[in-house]
């Protein structure tokens, strides 16, 4: 029974990673850049909901929409100000800029909201699911997070494959120059990618803070990194890969905490990442890109 409980707790943790990883992989898949500020956009999304729902007393669902809008604007602004001018620059320069943006967001949040921990009220008010006469409790927020992740995964896959903008994104991801020659607005397409990625971050932020209700300016950084690992694990750029990677990572982390050592859990998680990358460098579901010379 406790194994099942650990497994469920692992899925609960993994569903949050999966949700964040979807945003990472989306931006990486299209813009071919690692947006390390993603975790901090999540944190800002959490604060927006905290301020609007707890501070101004707006209905939590409306607060989530406000937060999604705010994060979309934030994501597009970051892309416009920090990343677009570096479009032709080396990937390393963009990466460093992303880290810079990440610290900028953390410190701005620190100045605006202070360093004290805010307790986030759970926006998922459904009752928990109790099995076997209360021996096994599945938190409603876990169920909601898993369902939301699946919906987002399916929705994104459909969006990228079937819609006009989605196909433009695929084209941009394969060859920006050629896409531009075909009349695709590359900058616009990447801006839309960031808008979608950031609004997903807001959703992830709300569910992350509902599951672990403590909000600080550093709330997003560690889950962000774990989610990045999950995205690489599943095959970065692959939308279903991010979901599977996230869930697996959460389960591995919790089971190693439970049965090996609670302190070595992170070491084990990162070792698994290294092994996966050695055996299958593109990740579990990563596509092999053939290079034409």
């Amino acid at each position: 029974m406790s194994f099942v409980a650990h497994l469920i707790n692992g899925i609960s943790l993994g569903s949050v990673y999966a949700l964040i990883a979807l945003g990472y992989t989306m931006v990486y898949g299209i813009a071919k850049m690692l947006n390390f500020a993603h975790g901090d956009v999540i944190m800002i999304g959490g604060y927006v909901v905290f301020v609007t729902a707890s501070g101004l007393g707006i209905n939590p669902l409306a607060a989530i929409i406000v937060s999604m809008a705010a994060c979309t604007v934030l994501g597009v602004t970051i892309e416009r100000v920090a990343y677009r001018p570096l479009r032709g620059a080396s990937p390393l320069a963009v990466l460093i800029t992303a880290i810079g943006v990440s610290y900028l967001l953390q410190n701005v949040a620190l100045l605006v909201f202070g360093s004290d921990t805010k307790a986030f009220s759970n926006v998922v008010t459904l009752p928990n699911l109790e099995l076997f006469g209360g021996q096994l409790i599945i938190k409603s927020v876990t169920i909601v997070t898993v369902i939301v992740s699946i919906i987002i995964m399916v929705g994104l896959t459909f969006f990228v494959r079937k819609t006009k903008i989605g196909r433009a994104m695929t084209a941009v991801s394969e060859d920006q120059g050629a896409a531009q020659l075909m009349g695709i607005n590359v900058n616009g397409t990447i801006a839309v990618t960031f808008a979608i990625g950031s609004s997903l971050a807001a959703v992830a932020g709300v569910l992350l803070c509902s599951a672990y209700p403590s909000l600080t300016p550093y709330t997003g950084s560690m889950p962000g990194i774990k989610a990045f690992v999950a995205a690489v694990f599943g095959g970065i750029g692959s939308i279903p890969g991010a979901f599977i990677g996230g869930i697996l990572l959460g389960v591995i982390e919790n089971l190693s905490k439970a049965y090996i050592s609670s302190q070595l859990a992170d070491a084990i998680v990162f070792s698994i990442l290294i092994i996966v990358l050695l055996v299958k460098p593109t990740g579990l579901l990563g596509r092999k890109v053939l290079e034409k010379v």
């Binding site: 406790s2 409980a5 650990h6 707790n9 609960s12 943790l13 690692l34 390390f36 905290f50 707890s54 990937p91 390393l92 990466l95 880290i99 990440s102 410190n107 620190l110 100045l111 360093s115 004290d116 921990t117 805010k118 307790a119 986030f120 009220s121 928990n128 109790e130 209360g134 409790i137 938190k139 672990y212 209700p213 403590s214 600080t216 300016p217 550093y218 950084s221 560690m222 889950p223 990194i225 990045f228 690992v229 690489v232 970065i236 919790n254 905490k257 439970a258 609670s262 302190q263 859990a265 992170d266 990442l273 990358l277 460098p281 890109v289 290079e291």
Partner: protein, 432 residues
């Protein structure tokens, strides 16, 4: 392309490691950011502070002169003055600790002076601000030395206390910290403390749980990456062996992994623990309380002074803290005469309820008094003589204070006292 991908991923993993490192020191970063913000206003403040100190000095001088005059007029053979210097944060983010310790100390000084002083000497207290900054703390100490300080009552925070104790050991000035709980605060022979040291809270907690039969099976959840938490845990585990309860699980977590406690709680539940010991800070404890309640695990929680502050977490559902016990030396609603008198005086003078730092400050002054009387300190003794005499006297005195009855000290500077705990009832600390 492939090469570029690989380099990107490698760079990513390295960066991840970098960020992880930074995550761990988040608190420090925040601290330094605060510091930087304050620095801009510093120049101004320093001048102000200097002026204030001067003014205070003058005032103190005048007062002393007046008193001397009065004493002479009365024909009383006054024993001079005994100058106690306090150091603690009176501004900045920890100001609440420093101000409380200063106010508590001041009440004790006033009481002592009203009752005839120490060995006939009038006690003077000069409390300096250190903004929780080790460097400013040493500056404050130097200012106190210029004022002619004889005994240091400070510092209120650990890092400052350590910095100042290096100086007082050099100058041979007796130092008693009311609330510096890090092990190194009393590393020098001239330094003593009123509060329990961090690790000793572990032993005290184990004794308390054992003596009051609070549990038979205890689970521990602690932060193995934090010296405060792991220090308490080690002492707790060692002391638990001689106590009538059993430590069934010890779940550790690290600074990078401090949001999900489901595994540790599940293990505690499976092991049938009836009490979970939390030698951690209140932020993580708040999450643990929430997750335990979510998983339907109803159990007693017991923590140390790190839990002090859990009621102040914004928006936190206080009903989750109902019944949480914590080791804190002072409960303002205790009904013993000493506490009632102290709380009434404190409320009258400062219009708020005193916290444990106020009680530590109060006890510190009475401890200095007891040691000074035992050592037969007189105003004409040099600081070296006072220090040597006080050091010996400290190991011989017994003090009944707010933070414990029958407190004794050994030469290491650590106090021995009965641990006190409070339980949270209806959102307030209640004496147990």
């Amino acid at each position: 392309m492939k090469k570029r991908m690989l380099s990107l991923v490698l760079a990513g993993v390295m960066t991840a490691a970098l960020l992880t490192g930074c995550g761990g020191s988040a608190g420090t970063d925040a601290g330094s950011a605060d510091g930087a913000a304050q620095e801009s206003a510093e120049t101004e403040e320093t001048t102000d502070a200097a002026e204030e100190t001067e003014a205070a000095d003058e005032a103190a001088g005048d007062e002393a002169a007046a008193e001397d005059g009065a004493a002479q007029a009365d024909g009383d053979s006054a024993g001079g003055t005994f100058k106690i210097g306090g150091i603690g944060p009176l501004t900045g983010s920890n100001a609440v600790y420093g101000i409380a310790a200063m106010n508590g100390s001041q009440i004790a000084v006033d009481e002592i002076n009203a009752a005839g002083g120490i060995n006939g000497m009038t006690v003077e207290l000069n409390f300096q601000d250190d903004e929780t900054d080790s460097e400013k703390s040493v500056n404050a100490y130097n200012a106190l030395k210029d004022w002619g300080v004889q005994v240091i009552d400070g510092c209120v925070t650990s890092a400052c206390s350590i910095a100042v104790s290096a100086k007082t050991a050099e100058d041979q000035i007796f130092q008693l910290t009311p609330s510096g709980s890090a092990v190194d605060c009393v590393a020098t022979p001239n330094a003593f403390r009123v509060c329990f040291s961090d690790p000793n809270q572990g032993a005290a907690s184990a004794q308390y749980i054992g003596d009051h039969s609070l549990a038979t099976k205890v689970a521990v959840i602690y932060d193995s990456s934090d010296v405060y938490s792991s220090g308490i845990y080690e002492k707790f585990a060692a002391e638990a062996e001689s106590q009538p309860f059993e430590v069934v699980t010890a779940g550790a977590f690290t600074a990078d992994n401090k949001t999900d406690f489901s595994v540790q709680l599940q293990q505690a539940k499976d092991a049938g623990a009836d009490l979970v010991f939390l030698p951690i800070y209140y932020n993580e404890a708040a999450l643990i309380l929430k997750q335990a309640s979510d998983m339907g695990f109803s159990v007693k929680f017991f923590g140390c002074d790190g839990l002090d502050g859990i009621l102040g977490v914004k928006n936190f559902d206080a009903s989750l803290t109902e019944g949480v016990m914590l080791l804190t030396p002072f409960a303002a609603d205790a009904t013993d005469d000493l506490t009632v008198k102290f709380v009434t005086t404190y409320k009258e003078k400062f219009n708020e309820t005193p916290n444990q730092f106020a009680a530590d400050g109060y006890d510190a002054i009475y401890t200095i008094k007891a040691a000074a009387e035992k050592a037969g300190i007189t105003a004409d003794m040099s600081n070296e003589e006072i220090c040597a005499a006080m050091q010996t006297a400290m190991t011989e005195i017994t003090v009944d204070g707010l933070t414990g009855e029958g407190i004794t000290w050994d030469a290491s500077g650590e106090p021995t006292k009965e641990p006190k705990a409070v339980v949270i009832k209806d959102g307030v600390y209640t004496a147990m």
